[in-house]
């Protein structure tokens, strides 16, 4: 499942050639040359077959051996080597797919590098020189943007922005620290003679330090996907890896310019220019990204009639933001990240369900494909003796320094940050963060861009970078998971918890979440509220379609989804019984929703007849699966009424079915999984039950009271007990700790929110889809309760 979406990349490696064009894109000069050479070297003979993997949107893969007409065109270009590459990739990915357990031990990226080595070996063996390398152009223009756009588009925004301060500290100050210490450390050791005789200077060391210091987003995602760490930790490392590009680009360019100038000409002016350029590059890049995000949002607002090409705009404009920033010498990665981050909310709201799905899937496809290719090429690039220069001192010292200084840097910065943070970062988080500072292809791309004439030791730097990348990705990637498990196990109890302890632990979790919400610790911020208000009033009005704006209300969405769930299960029940005729015989309260609320349902409720799509872009079938009750375990175990089996059952039940608290939610970003969050369903279920219980208590309270009584929302005297009938109060106190008045006013407030929303839209439309009636009839309890309240309130 994890690899299936990347498989498609193989089948379309060379669309240009597939179309029969004899022109080769500039991006692949080496491939073209190689194929030309090969055609002259090797004999004739058409390739026997081409393997194709086809992948449809449902995620299933079909293999089809195809004797395509374009195989002859392929032969014409004699791209046997391309076939080789593709073939091996396919086979290995199939193998990996089969060995899913393997990927839980060794991260995919490490495996891909291994494959790259093997492939590189094959190609080198066939060719006596390395025909494929990861050229900077290909990497920076064709492979990297998709990955970063995917990262930005799926970024959990709330988490990102609430930790923005810490992320910026790590990205800017942390990277500068790493660059400076590594560069200076290496320079010191060179002066001390540890590296022997190499033609290098302080500036070159600093440059090398700056490019090796950057944490790589591709590698981070690849490794952290296997290791499930908590959200905050993940967003720290991930955010840092994305934002540090601003610093890396500036440092790289500055030191590159300095090296060209020569050491003598550097004075304070140049250094100040360098610092200013950081601000310009970073903020300029972000600004470009934001401008393009605005553009995309506006565009999706107006594309009602051309929905079929909406997805294309997203990708084109995203890529355009990257290119524009690059053209203006600003930070391209920052630009595309912010483009993705800022536009996600609006385009998800504006676009049609199917377009949104398309964008999400295609984005994942591209990102996965790019990542795969990047890692394989990283492996292939190593098998090239021309590039390898070995200098024990340099290489080992680099490894040591980046490791050690990363730890020191992270711990230092965290210590400073913890003084200002509400929730401090724990020790284990800091360890994981330091250990997770992986270097990857970005560093390699940068080092490959160095000019050989200015940098005599370029090959040494390239070799070192490659070794650093392998070390971090493979070694640290493989050992990350055991390290995390080991560190956590040390703290937890070894003995098995009793039932009471398990239940109580979960209760504590829920309690803590509730208290946090009450005390408003997380999220109650003046600036944030201000931004929220501004955004709701102006930005949404400007950037979102009018119909999208209406359906944004959260409670309504939950209510709507619950209704859909109920309706679906109702229909299922009906189908099981043979027909839906029984629906019409129900004598439930037939509420004319339209008349009551004067809302335009057909406009607000998204088209639920759309193929399998729910309002939150969640396939409804997955929601349905939760409705089917599980088999009662107790029944099956009746013959083994032993204490142990009961014990086991109880423990097992608790394990499976206790609601997880909010804190246990895993990070929601994943390269290859687009599933619906189980947490959402859980949240909806809890919300529904809370509402129902409040409704129940309200209804039962109402039954015991004279009908003329008004609901009191203001308490006149605070110490006088409530005026409810005494007979029921003791009963009620069991279920409703704060009394009936409290219950009904509580219910009222929560429904007021919903009602306020409903009374906002002014028009009245006569058309009421038939399905709405079914929904209403099936959701009798809640609806009749609402009606009761409304009758009371509106009269």
């Amino acid at each position: 499942m994890s690899m299936s979406d990347s498989l498609v990349s193989c089948g379309h490696l060379d669309p240009v050639i597939a179309q029969g064009s004899t022109q080769c894109r500039e991006a692949r000069p080496c491939i073209h040359k190689a194929s030309q050479r090969m055609s002259s070297d090797l004999g004739s003979g058409p390739p026997s077959s081409c393997m194709h993997i086809q992948w449809d949107l449902k995620g299933k893969t079909k293999l089809s051996l195809n004797q395509h007409s374009y195989s002859e065109m392929l032969y014409e270009h004699n791209s046997r080597d391309q076939e080789l590459v593709r073939l091996t990739e396919l086979i290995t990915q199939l193998l990996v797919e089969l060995n899913h357990s393997l990927t839980s031990v060794i991260p995919e990226s490490a495996l891909l590098i291994l494959i790259g080595w093997i492939l590189g070996g094959i190609i080198y063996g066939a060719d006596k020189m390395q025909t494929f390398t990861l050229t900077p152009t290909v990497f920076f223009f064709y492979l990297l943007p998709q990955v970063i756009l995917d990262a930005g588009y799926f970024m959990p925004n709330k988490l990102f922005f609430s930790n923005m301060g810490a992320i910026l500290v790590y990205a800017v100050i942390g990277t500068c620290w790493n660059a400076a210490t590594v560069g200076l450390g290496l320079w010191g050791c060179w002066l001390g003679g540890a590296m022997g005789d190499i033609d290098i200077g302080l500036l070159q060391f600093l440059l090398f330090g700056s490019l090796i210091a950057a944490v790589d987003p591709v590698a981070v995602i690849a490794v952290f996907e296997e290791v499930h760490v908590n959200e905050v930790l993940f967003i720290m490392v991930f955010g840092e890896s994305l934002l540090n590009d601003g610093v890396t680009v500036v440092l790289f360019n500055v030191f590159d310019a300095f090296v060209s100038l020569g050491g003598a000409e550097i004075d304070a002016v140049e250094i100040i220019k360098g610092i200013i350029s950081f601000f310009v590059v970073a903020f300029g890049g972000s600004l470009v990204g934001i401008i393009f995000a605005l553009l995309i949002s506006l565009l999706t607002r107006c594309t009602k009639n051309i929905q079929i090409i909406e997805p294309g705009f997203i990708f084109i404009l995203g890529y355009l933001s990257y290119l524009t920033a690059e053209m203006l010498s600003l930070s391209a990665i920052l630009s595309i990240v912010f483009c993705g981050i800022c536009c996600q909310k609006y385009i998800n709201a504006n676009m049609d369900e199917r377009s949104v799905t398309t964008v999400r899937y295609v984005m994942k496809v591209f990102a996965n494909g790019s990542e795969t290719i990047i890692f394989v090429f990283l492996g292939i690039s190593a098998i090239d003796p021309a590039v390898w220069v070995w200098n024990t001192g340099f290489i080992l010292l680099t490894l040591l320094f980046i490791f050690v200084f990363r730890f020191i840097g992270v711990f230092l910065l965290t210590w400073i940050l913890n003084k200002y943070r509400l929730v401090p970062l724990e020790f284990i988080d800091q360890v994981v963060m330091s250990y997770g500072g992986l270097r990857g292809a970005v560093a390699y791309g940068l080092v490959a861009m160095l000019d050989e004439n200015k940098f005599k030791e370029k090959n040494l730097m390239v070799s070192t970078t490659l070794i650093v990348v392998y070390f971090t990705v493979m070694l640290q990637g493989i050992t990350m998971k055991p390290l995390v498990t080991w560190l956590k196990v040390k703290r937890a109890a070894v003995t098995e918890l009793t039932l009471a302890e398990k239940i109580q632990n979960r209760t504590f979790d829920h309690m803590l979440v509730a208290i946090e919400d009450i005390s408003g610790q997380i999220g109650h911020n003046y600036m944030r509220d201000k931004w929220h208000n501004f955004e709701e009033r102006w930005l949404c009005w400007f950037l979102m379609k009018p119909s999208a704006r209406k359906s944004r209300d959260y409670i309504f969405n939950i209510f709507h989804q619950l209704n859909l769930k109920d309706a679906m299960s109702y229909v299922k029940e009906g189908e099981r019984r043979g027909s839906l005729a029984f629906v019409r015989n129900e004598t439930k309260a037939d509420v004319d929703f339209n008349k009551k609320f004067r809302a335009s349902f057909s406009e607000i409720m998204p088209d639920i007849m759309a193929d399998n799509m729910g309002p939150d872009h969640v396939p409804l079938s997955s929601i349905l699966q939760d409705i089917v009750p599980s088999v009662c375990l107790v029944m099956h175990e009746q013959d083994l009424t032993m204490r142990e089996s009961e014990d086991f059952n109880a423990h097992h039940l608790l394990q499976q079915h206790l609601y997880r608290g909010r804190k246990q939610h895993r990070h929601r970003y994943s390269r290859s999984h687009l599933e619906t969050n189980r947490d959402e369903n859980e949240v909806q279920e809890i919300f529904q039950r809370t509402m129902r219980s409040r409704l129940e208590s309200f209804k039962s309270a109402k039954m015991g009271v004279a009908p003329a009584k008004k609901i009191q929302t203001k308490h006149q005297k605070k110490d006088k007990p409530q005026k409810m009938p005494n007979g029921n109060s003791s009963d009620k106190s069991k279920n409703h700790p704060y009394g009936d008045k409290g219950t009904c006013s509580l219910l009222f407030t929560s429904l007021l929110h919903y009602m306020k929303w409903l009374t906002r839209p002014p028009q009245l439309r006569g058309h009421q889809p038939p399905v709405v009636c079914i929904i209403i009839q099936s959701h009798s309890k809640a609806i009749s309760g609402i009606c009761l309240i409304l009758e009371n309130r509106l009269d």
Partner: protein
């Protein structure tokens, strides 16, 4: 251990009665620092939309996220003493002070009253969440209620009852088919209550 009042230099624009409450709570050794009191007061005011100086259940109900908590309603109830319909700032802080991490450095002084955030007090708070009728014992029915709210809807009644029975069996030492506070405390002696029931901001 208690708030040094002279550090409390932040002016509060609140009616005189409430500020009296704050000083009063200082004297009661509610161990919350001045900065936190200010923050909590801001929150209290934000919740108290009608500016009466007291909070009522519907003010808590306005917090949407509580509706998504299985024991949200119980926690709201815990803020209100039996018979009271409102909670003032003093009680608000007092309940929240339960969640402060315990002060390990200062030795326990037997002459002073039990601090609010000690292990015993925290356990008492948790116990009261279960024990709605305040008879000092968690009966089977009460346990069933809590379990029902914390388990997914898929779980059937029989499964629920079996879990409740087994839980009571494990914890009940005097065989009265209910869990008293002592039994409750004993069953949780291995659990690090301080870690589990503390919010780090209330440091």
């Amino acid at each position: 251990m208690h708030i040094v009042i002279k550090l409390f230099g932040v002016p509060l624009s609140c009616p005189i009665t409430n500020s009296m409450n704050i000083w009063f709570s200082c004297f009661l050794f509610i161990i919350v620092t001045p900065a936190h009191i200010v923050r909590l007061y801001d929150r209290f005011e934000a919740l108290d939309k009608e500016k009466t100086g007291h909070l009522r259940p519907q003010d808590f109900g306005a917090i949407n996220r509580l509706a998504m908590n299985p024991i949200g309603d119980r926690i709201i109830g815990a803020f209100f003493s039996p018979g009271q319909e409102t909670v003032d700032f003093h009680s608000f802080v007092r309940i929240l002070a339960h969640f402060r991490p315990a002060d390990k450095k200062h030795p326990k002084d037997p002459s002073m009253p039990e601090p609010v955030n000690s292990r015993t007090s925290k356990l008492k708070f948790a116990f009261q969440l279960y024990d709605q009728d305040k008879d000092g014992k968690i009966s089977r029915a009460e346990l069933l209620q809590v379990l029902r709210s914390m388990l997914e809807m898929q779980v059937t009644e029989e499964q629920l009852e079996s879990i409740a029975d087994r839980t009571i069996q494990e914890a009940d030492l005097d065989n009265d088919d209910a869990i008293s506070f002592e039994e409750f405390r004993k069953s949780l002696e291995k659990v690090n209550i301080d870690h589990k029931m503390s919010i780090r901001f209330l440091r």
